[in-house]
Amino acid sequence: METKTRRQLIQTRLLGFLREEVFDAQVTLDEHTDLLEAGFDSLALLRLLNYSEQHLGVCIPEAQITGDRIRTVYNMAEWIDTLETEKQTGP
């Protein structure tokens, strides 16, 4: 339950960041939107990594980034949540 709540919180914050800072208001964005199809680019990805490090306290390892992990906000939140859990408990 706690994990689900944390995941949802990460999801909400990621969505807020992407809507406010990265995507134009005319782009409809929800947790299942395919970001790559919506035009998410390399600079946006780096900004997201930066945001995660500074505001969510999770350092995303670049080498582990795959198209699937960053395809939707839902996937990203799930992955960041897993990284956070690993950070606390060890992999």
Binding site: E21, D24, G39, D41, S42, L45, L46, L49, N50, I70
Partner: protein, 448 residues
């Protein structure tokens, strides 16, 4: 009432003005760029002219004159009060040959080097080239003070589809508060801008310690050089192969790192062949500040610039260049360097352009960068047709500011990767430019 006819330029518009000043001083046409559209069907000049005239009356900025306030020194656009203007001009050219023939290339080069009469409100021009087989080419030349390439793509789309233009107001097309960085910019005062600009100045000073020696060094003695360009288009299977190599070599969504690596490794090879010794390569890379999913605002420059430094000994292979590129981008984002650069550019609003140029030249003793690099991604899909006719090809020909006088743009049209190499004659011969692009192509396909 008088105040309403004035529109202020943003910091980057002013920087473009400074570069225009520098280009003209060195004998070039000015800081202008082109988009080229190829069509299989002939569109008559009257139809194009009618649409452009309609847009010119809706957006008087298109032929506004550039002024500066005597006391404050800030440049601004003075919008024309009447609709009677000789500009924008639409001209026709008839070529007996087919596209790609030498007379076509000579004409293209000539059009690229024909200056716009900015002082009298000529900020863009359309040239329609008709070929003997009824194909045609539309070349829009625009001045970078008016808009950047993203805006230019959208404006050309507006000409091709007038209903788009009619849905927009002037304020939507010039309002620069849409970008989050520009919003931040509007909320801080001049003193704060100066403070925030300091890291950017510091960055430039640090790079100046290991100053690059660019190809431009050899160009200084040439009288009135011209610009030329070469274009390479990859097939769909080639593009797919390159993107696959990019992912396996540089990781997901790192095509910029892959493209830059191929270019820089080839450039270093060229420097060696030409006997130019330099301890560092400085790359100036442009970044669009607009949010993803919008082309607005149109009539303004909405780009930021990041400078990258690569020491000669770092140019070993893809992974070393790509890694340095990624690290420097991350560092820049962490330290808010993009915003700091914007603050630096914003300061140019308050300086005469010649003074700004002098400061830049002093900082790097005439060598600003070794290469201009851009990877804007997919071209605007609205330009896949023009006046209901399918566009067969679309090319971008960027302005190459001096120094360094050489720039490369990677972009995708119709799923294909395209590269435009623009350069000042004298830096490279046509054969060298062709050879350079062939080497970049080979590297991109081979991944080494």
């Amino acid at each position: 009432m008088k105040q309403k006819s004035r529109l202020a330029l943003n910091g980057l518009d002013c920087l473009m003005l400074a570069f225009d000043h520098q280009l003209k001083k060195n004998g070039y046409a000015g800081n202008q760029s082109q988009i080229i559209l190829g069509l299989d069907t002939r569109i008559e000049i009257d139809a194009v002219r009618k649409r452009l005239t309609g847009l010119a009356s809706q957006f008087p900025l298109i032929n506004a004159s550039l002024r500066s306030s005597f006391w404050k020194g800030r440049p601004y656009w003075l919008l024309p009060v009447t609709e009677t203007s000789a500009f924008p001009e639409v001209r026709t050219h008839f070529i007996e040959d087919l596209p790609g023939a030498s007379s076509h290339e000579i004409l293209r080069r000539q059009l690229l080097n024909t200056p716009l009469n900015v002082r009298h409100g000529e900020l863009l021009r359309l040239d329609l080239i008709y070929f003997q087989d009824r194909r045609m080419e539309i070349i829009m030349t625009w001045h970078h003070i008016l808009m950047d390439a993203r805006g230019a793509e959208y404006f050309l789309h507006m000409i091709g589809n007038c209903s788009v233009g009619s849905a927009l107001s002037l304020s939507e097309t010039v309002d620069d508060t849409l970008s989050p960085l520009r919003k931040r910019m509007a909320s801080i005062d001049m003193k704060e801008k100066l403070r925030l600009a300091e890291p950017a100045f510091g960055w430039i000073d640090r790079m100046a310690l290991l100053r690059p020696v660019s190809l431009y060094t050899k160009l200084k003695s040439l009288p009135a050089p011209k610009l030329d360009f070469r274009i390479d288009v990859f097939s769909l299977p080639e593009t797919e192969a390159i993107m696959k190599r990019s992912r396996s070599t540089c990781g997901v969504m790192n095509s910029s790192a892959y493209f830059l690596s191929a270019t820089l490794l080839t450039l270093a090879e060229l420097y060696q062949q030409k006997g130019i010794e330099t301890r560092s390569y400085i790359v100036s890379s442009t970044i669009d500040l607009r949010k993803i999913g919008t082309r607005l605002p149109i009539f303004t420059n909405q780009a930021g610039v990041l400078l990258y430094e690569f020491k000669s000994e770092d140019l070993l292979d893809y992974s070393s260049v790509a890694n340095l590129f990624r690290l420097q981008t991350q560092e820049a984002l962490r330290n808010d360097m993009l915003f700091s650069n914007l603050c630096t550019m914003e300061l140019s609003r308050f300086m005469p352009s010649w003074l700004y140029v002098r400061k830049i030249k002093k900082a790097l003793r005439g060598e600003i960068a070794s290469l201009l690099f851009a990877n804007p991604g997919v071209t605007f899909q609205g330009l896949s047709t023009f006046m209901d006719e399918p566009v067969q090809y679309q090319y971008h020909v960027p302005a190459v500011v001096t120094p360094p006088g050489i720039g490369i743009v990677y972009y995708f049209f119709s799923g294909r990767l395209q590269i435009t190499l623009a350069y000042a004659e004298g830096l490279l011969s046509r054969e060298e430019a062709t050879g350079f692009l062939a080497d970049v192509r080979r590297r991109l396909l081979a991944g080494k």
